[in-house]
Each structure stands twice: as C-alpha cells, then as structure tokens.
Amino acid sequence: MIRFPGSCDEVDALGACRRFADAELLWHGDRDLRAADAIVIPGGFSYGDYLRAGAIARFSPVMEAVREFALSGGPVLGICNGFQVLCEAGLLPGALLPNVGLRFVCRQVELVVENPNTPFTRACAEGDVLSVPVKHTTGRYYAPEEALDELESNGQVLLHYAEGQNPNGSARDIAGVSNSQKNVFGLMPHPEHAVDPLTGSADGGKLFESLVAHVDALQPA
C-alpha cells in the first residue's frame, strides 16, 4: 500500500487489505517494495493534486519501483487517485477527465463484472453486480474510440457501471480497466469502502479476495 502526502483513503484501504492478507504502508520516498506480492495505490489527493490528479505522484521515487514491479508481471491495483496515477504513469491506457457534472460526487453505485478471468476479479462471475461507492471529481474515463474497441475486445474492461448508474460520464460506462497483460488494474469506485455490511456493503471485498487467491496460486505449494 503506497502512501503519498495527501493520500486519504490509505488507512481504509490498508484496513480492507488486512481483512484478507498481511498489508503494510510504503512511504512515497521508498524505493524498496519490501518483497510485496501485490501493490495497492490508494485514493486521495496525492501531493494535493493541484496541478492535475495524479500528475505529480507518478514522478515519486516509489513509483519507479512500482513500474518495475508491474513490468515484471506483479499485480498492481489502483483505486481512484491510484487509477489516475497509473494512467499518468502510462501503466494503464486512457485518461480520467473531470466528471460531466463538474462536481465531486459521492454515491453508492452498482458495478457489473465484465471479465472475471483476471487477478482482480477471479472471485467473481461474469455479470455479477457489486455495490460499491464512488467519490471523485475527476473520474470520467476517456480513450479514443479505436482504443475503447480494443480494450473491450481484449477483455481489459473488468468492470462497468450498471445501466443508468454511470456517475461521471465515463466512455461506455467503464468503471475500471486493466493493461493488456491484466496485471495492472485501475478503477474509480472504492472497493475498500465496501468490505463491511455495517458501513454499506461487503461486495468490494471480492476484489481483494481475488488478489489474495491470485497470489496464493502463484506460491509453491
């Protein structure tokens, strides 16, 4: 779990991860990922995000290590601001633009699982509906039409907003995309805020469960 100055969901995300596996925080100045099996980049406003969401965080020392980790096939999950950082870093295709409504929106939405055959969604079935909140100002997923076609045909759109629930005007209702190798995944909704029915829903836990299952499957028996 990476912590930038200005991260604000990192404690929530850490708590969510710890429900399923061991997890710890890495400081933005760290270059050593401490032999992590998976990396989560949390939400928030890294370095204040005054320039553009995620635009500065991508240059942080820790992101160099994350890049190497990702390029060697390690699973990286970016949530909200983490998604923005991964797009800025070129580890994920496309970009995130200001919401159509131009306002921050915090709302519970339904997500449909499009591709369950990835490290992040393997605990789900295709068509599963997950209730997970969104909260962001800059979450409208954008990519050129041909790129969107390609993402869809490659199965890189792992999650989309259920019909009528797109909160930000994202192209083709896309809520989360992966790279072509499926080991880097970014999404705007916050699965870490959906791990306990007491606070709304436990559906987001499926993504963490998937990640743990993926890592476990790689371990020698």
Partner: protein
C-alpha cells in the same frame, strides 16, 4: 482630555473611544501601531465575546462525562475505554458572504484545527448552512460555492462530511450562515490543553508561511454588519490549502503521540496575536515573540501584519528545550515548516520583537481578560422585526397538493444535491450516511467495532424568530430527538449563536431569550455544553438574520447494528407515532408557504420530553423498531412521505387516533402539516408495537397504519390524500438540483 478625541486610529479598527481610553490606562501610555492593532482584535466581539460572555454563563457546562469544557480549542467527553470525543461548532459567516468558496473551505479548515489542537483525530464534519431564498441568484451562487468549498476542503483532507442541514429564508439573503462542526477521537492521555507552560520553553510556529491574507478578518468581517462595499473586503478572506493542513494534522498528532509538545494551539481569528496571548493567559506566563523569524510569503510585511495575519494552516506549540531537535526532525519528515519564534517568560507580558527591536509590549491579562464586557439592554420589540415571507400556496389547496408543495419546498426537500458533493465515507466509520437516518452514525473504532457515535446539528431560525425562547428549546429537543432515533444518548452539546447586532435592544432580547431557552433545555435533559462559538452582527442592509442558535450534539450508541434508519422497509409492518406531539401551524413550513410568520410558539413540557426521548432511545436500542424518524419541518405528513421515499414503498395511514387524542382544537390540516417537538414516526412488527405500547401506555404510542403499496394513502378526518411514492420522490429529490442546470 481623552486621547481618543484627538486620535481616531482606533475607530477605524472598531474600538470605541472608551475602549481606547481603557487600553491607554492598562498600558499607562499611548499604544503603538502594533499594540493598537493587536488590542483591536483581542477586544473585538469575535475574540472577546464582550456582548455575550455574561450571558453564556447561564449554560450548564458540568457533567460526569465532560473531560474538557468551554475555553479550550474544543470540548471533549469521555466515551469509555480510555477514549474521548472532542467536538466543536464554529461560524465562518461573514467571510463566506464575501467569498463563499474560500470562506466555507477555511471554515472547515479552522474547525478541523480546533479539534486536532486538543490531540483528537478528526473523524467527521457536519455543516449547518443558511441562505436566502433559492429564487435569488445570489443565494444560488452562495450555496453552490459554499458547498463546493466545504467539499473541497473536507474531501481533500480525507475527513468525512457526514451530515448537516440547509435552510433557505429571506433574512439570510445578504448574510448567509456557514457553521461547521467537527468531531474527533483521542486517547484520553493524548488530550492536550493550550496553556503555555514552562519558563524558558520554546515557542514553535508550525505549518504554512504567513502572508497578508485575512488581515483583520476577525475585526473587519466578523464584528461588524455587512454592507454594500463588502466586495472590497475579499482580500480579508483567507485562502485554504487542505494539502498543507493534511500534513499539519498528521504531524501534530505524531508530535503529541511522541510526547514532544507541552501545549498546542491553532491559529485562527487574529492569528498569532490571539493564539499567543491566549496560551500565555491560560498558562499565567509571558511570551517573547520575534516576528523577524516568522517565515513569510511576502518579504516586506510589517511586524503588525505578521502578528494579525490570519493565514491558514498554522499551529503554535510550546516545546521544552531538550525536545526541540526531535520536534524539528519530525516536522521535517512530514515536510511541515517548523520555526522557533520565541520563548515562554515569567513576565506575564506579550513582548513582540522584530530582531532586536522591541515593537510591542502588552500585559497578557489586559489583552485577554480585561476587555470591557457589556451588559445587553434587551427589550422585546413592539413591532414585528421581520416582514412575513411571500405567499406561494393558497389556503384552499388540496391536502395532496399541499403535501407535494411542502416536499418540493426548499427547506423540506432532499439535500442530496449538496451532500453528494461531500465524501461521507472516508475513514470507514460511517454506518449511516446523510438522510439515511435522522443522525449520522459513526463507529467509534475504525473498521467496525461494537460501539458507535450518533451526531446531529440542528436549528430552525424561523421558529426562533417566532419565539426566541421556545425556538431555542426546540433546537435542543430536535437535536436530541435525532440522536434518540438512532439510539444515541447525548453526551455533550456544542452551539453556535448566530444573531444580529447585540447593541440593538430587540436583538439583545432575542439573544437573551434564546440563551435562556438553551440553558433550560440543556438543564432539563441533562446535557452539558462543552464549547461553542458566538457570531454577532449578522445583519445586511435589509435587517438582521433570523436569530439562529445552532446546536450540535454527540451521543453514544452501544450497538451500531441496531441503529434505525428513516426508511420504511417491509410490506405489512406497523406504523406508530411516539411522543407528546402537539402540532401547531405556528412557525410551520406550511405557514411560511402561506405567507405567515407567527409570534409565539407553544411552550414544551421539558420533563415530558425527557421521558419521551429516553423511551425512543430504548426502543431503538432494543431493536423493536425497523425505522425511526423525527417529525420536523412539514409535519407528520412530510415525515411519513420521507419514510416512504427512503424505502421506496407506500403506506396506509389514518390519523383518527391522533385527532382523538389532540381534541377538537386540532383540525385535520394541523394534524397533517402542523409542527412541534416530541413526535417520532416508527415502524416495526405487530408484536414489537404491541410490546412497546404495553410498556409505555396509550398516551405515548399511537398506532396509525401499516407499510405497503406504492402510494402514501393518508386520512385525517375529512382530509384524505393518496400520493404515489414515485411522484413524492420526484418532488422531494428534484427540487434542489432543478435550481441548477
């Protein structure tokens, strides 16, 4: 001859001639420019409470759970297991009326600092907002930007905004109200006071550089009426930087955890002047400050500007000499600027140096404790103070039309448009989000746990305008009732008194009556006041605001799993009305829509309400009810409609038993739309309702009908209505967004 007669500098700074003379007497000489600037702020209404201090002594502040009472940056109550909850509400009205985005944002920033200054980690923000009617472009502008500003600060710093309220009334047109409340959790042994201590200890300034923003905010903006030239006061509004504050917050809590600070204080109104002199006053010490060491945004600032700047995101702490290097190292790690700017002395004087030059030397006691206090001269007005609102609905509108109009009226309508712009879930503690229940519910421990807090903030200014005493009593009852609906027992109360110019007898009367009402209600319910804020001079060219005491309360909930929400859940569940509810059209939303503004409200029997609230709380805690919703604006009909809308299910209700209890003076219309404290709508199984009725007697619980169908079908004697839930929902939820494209 009075020196004030020849020298008028002080008048421009808001001091009277007599106050100037008093300063000369304390100093035993004429004040220098810096000294006069510092005195003018310290003796402003905002810092010295000179018109309200005597009155505030009426409020009960003692209670077995109080850990820190009024006077500290925030009050705190004991919540068991070695934990305390600190909370406070504060206004940022005048800055927001001049520049709503930054005004509201820095209002949030300021109240957050108050809470982490006492060592508590902020976990939630609530806002109480007042604007003019939505027909006015200015009101829509203020609303839109204030909401965006609150969201900007709270969302960015990662503290959940979990609740609040918004009212729209003509008298707030020029002078909007932005009150922000924050609560935080601390281990009790980390709770920190602000008294400076230890002669020879270092004074260290933390956080942002000091600039010219917010110079004189407290005296220029907060302690005088607004006028037409307020646009020119924009430079007096501070600019917020939530990223800087986020680092400052984490850094301060780590410093306190490591036991490195002797005391901590935030820099708010009047900046370094008030923070330093208040720390010195509480610690009964003196302070020497060298302004030349203060990191500046603009190099050429005058010493007096440095002393009174209200630049945001700054804290002042006292550090023992042996711990200074550890403090500086920890701040460096968080990338927080830390500068040693002075030291604690035994002189009992605030001495300000610029390098070697002494530029100000003032007795601390004179600055903080000697400000002349004024007796109010209250006089009940013989003429109405406010003109009635414009009529928007005819008396002969059908009950169905009336209910739709009320649901779509700005004060009753859903505030989803606003609260969706706030992050209400960061922190993973939020069990009930805005409008999900009558009070916000947060778990005490992060990631669940078995205990929770209920929080609400309330205050209907128009009802206080109708009757300052009863209106203020009702604000306390309303807030306590919202807590009861989630099973929370109040531990403490904070308030913000928003009033007009107290030098005017009719405003003094409102203020005196309202504070008496608050005091009596708190006393009767056994709820101590642990802190608060007074905002006076809220007047525009067209007169004073409605008198608006805003009450915030924190309560404890033993089991968050049993918290009731607003929504009717299941077909066939029974609906009942609990409590000594005696509705009246006086001060109601319906009266407003009909263009009326009553004088006088029925007086509540506080002992009766105390029992009622305890019973509601126990019913919720015992798991007997599936939903619980307090009857407030728009009366019983609106409360029932809100339960239906939230659950997406209808209800069949007959108010005959209520009419029978209330007697012939209460017409069907009053039963439907009348307002008053002491009514809670609940739903639950037949057995649960029978159980509740058995234990409490027929007077308290009245069965009204059952949940089901797709419409709210409501009968009250000759009045009947049937409103499809979808239609009600559209009116309720589209009213606010419909005003913005």
């Amino acid at each position: 001859m009075s020196p004030g007669a020849t020298d008028t500098r002080h008048r421009e700074l808001g001091l009277t001639d007599a106050e100037y003379d008093a300063i000369v007497e304390r100093l035993e000489r004429e004040p220098g420019d810096l000294e006069l600037a510092v005195f003018s702020l310290m003796w402003s209404e905002h810092c010295a409470y000179k018109h309200s201090k005597k009155l505030l002594r009426k409020l009960p502040t003692q209670g077995p759970r109080v850990v820190m009472g009024p006077g500290e940056n925030a009050g705190a109550v004991d919540v068991g297991d070695g934990l305390a909850v600190a909370f406070k509400v504060e206004s940022h009205n005048h800055p927001s009326a001049v520049e709503p985005f930054q005004g509201a944002a820095t209002g949030v920033g300021g109240i957050l600092r108050d809470v982490f200054a006492v060592g508590a980690r902020p976990i939630a923000i609530l806002d109480s907002l007042r604007f003019g009617e939505l027909d006015s472009a200015r009101s829509r502008y203020l609303l839109e930007h204030a909401v965006a500003g609150i969201g900007h600060y709270g969302n960015s710093i990662g503290v959940a905004t979990v609740g609040g309220e918004i009212y729209f009334e003509g008298p707030y047109e020029q002078n909007c109200l932005i009150n922000a409340m924050c609560l935080g959790v601390a281990p009790q042994d980390r709770l920190t006071r602000s008294a400076a201590a230890g002669v020879g200890n270092h004074l260290v300034l933390l956080g942002a550089r000091t600039g010219r923003d917010g110079i004189g905010g407290a005296s220029v903006l907060a302690s005088a009426e607004l006028d037409a030239e307020d646009e020119s006061k924009r430079p007096s509004v501070q600019i917020g930087d939530p990223f800087e504050e986020s680092k400052l917050l984490e850094c301060c809590l780590e410093l306190l955890d490591a036991g490195l600070l002797a005391s901590l204080q935030d820099l708010g109104a009047a900046g370094l002047s008030s923070s330093s002199s208040e720390m010195a006053s509480k610690g009964e010490v003196g302070l020497d400050i060298d302004v030349s060491r203060v990191p500046l945004r603009e190099a050429d600032m005058e010493p007096f500007e440095i002393m009174i700047s209200e630049s945001q995101e700054r804290m002042l702490c006292v550090v023992e000499p042996g711990k200074l290097s550890a403090v500086l190292a920890l701040c460096d790690r968080w990338d927080v600027r830390a500068t040693e700017i002075g030291e604690v002395t035994d002189t009992r004087r605030l001495r300000v140096f610029s390098g070697d030059e002494l530029v100000g030397d003032m007795p601390v006691e004179a600055l903080v404790d000697d400000c002349p206090l004024y007796d109010l001269e209250p006089e009940k007005p013989s003429e109405p103070i406010y003109s009635p609102p414009p009529r928007v609905i005819e008396d002969d509108a059908s009950p169905g039309q009336t209910l739709l109009a009320l649901l779509g009226s700005s004060n009753v309508a859903s505030k989803r448009w606003a609260f969706e712009q706030y992050d209400s879930i960061v922190g993973s503690r939020t069990v009930r989000r805005p409008e999900g229940a009558d009070a916000a519910v947060l778990t005490l421990e992060p990631d669940g746990g078995s205990r929770a807090l209920g929080v609400s903030i309330d205050g209907n200014g128009r009802r206080v305008a109708c009757d300052p005493y009863s209106g203020a009593v009702e604000a306390v009852l309303e807030c306590a009732s919202n807590l009861a609906c989630v099973g929370a027992e109040p531990l403490g109360l904070t308030n913000c008194l928003n009033f007009g110019n107290p030098e005017k007898p009719h405003i003094a009367w409102q203020l005196t009556q309202a504070v008496q009402g608050l005091a009596d209600a708190c006393e009767a319910l056994g709820i101590p006041v642990v802190g608060g804020n007074v905002s006076l001079y809220n007047e525009g060219g067209e007169g004073p605001i409605y008198p608006t005491p805003v009450v915030g309360m924190v309560g404890e909930i033993p089991d968050p799993e049993r918290v009731a929400g607003v929504a009717f859940l299941e077909e066939g569940e029974q609906i009942a009305l609990l409590g000594p509810f005696r509705p009246s059209l006086a001060g109601s939303e319906l009266e407003k829509l009909r263009g009326g503004l009553s004088e006088g409200l029925p007086q509540a029997d506080l002992a009766l309400h105390r029992d009622h609230l305890a019973r509601v709380r126990e019913a919720v805690r015992g798991g007997a009810v599936s939903s619980a919703h307090d009857v407030s604006e728009g009366g019983l009909a609106c409360a029932l409609a809100e339960c239906c809308i939230a659950g997406g299910i209808g209800a069949r209700v007959d108010l005959a038993p209520l009419l029978a209890r209330l007697g012939t003076a209460v017409t069907p219309e009053i039963a439907l739309f009348g307002e008053g404290p002491g009514g809670v709508v609940v739903s639950g199984s037949l057995e649960a309702m029978e159980g509740l009725a058995e234990n409490s007697g027929a007077d308290w619980l009245i069965r009204l009908g059952e949940v089901g169908g797709e419409a709210l079908e409501l009968t009250a004697g000759v009045a009947t209505l049937s409103l499809p839930v979808e239609e009600a929902k559209t009116a309720y939820e589209q009213a606010l967004p419909g005003r913005f494209s």
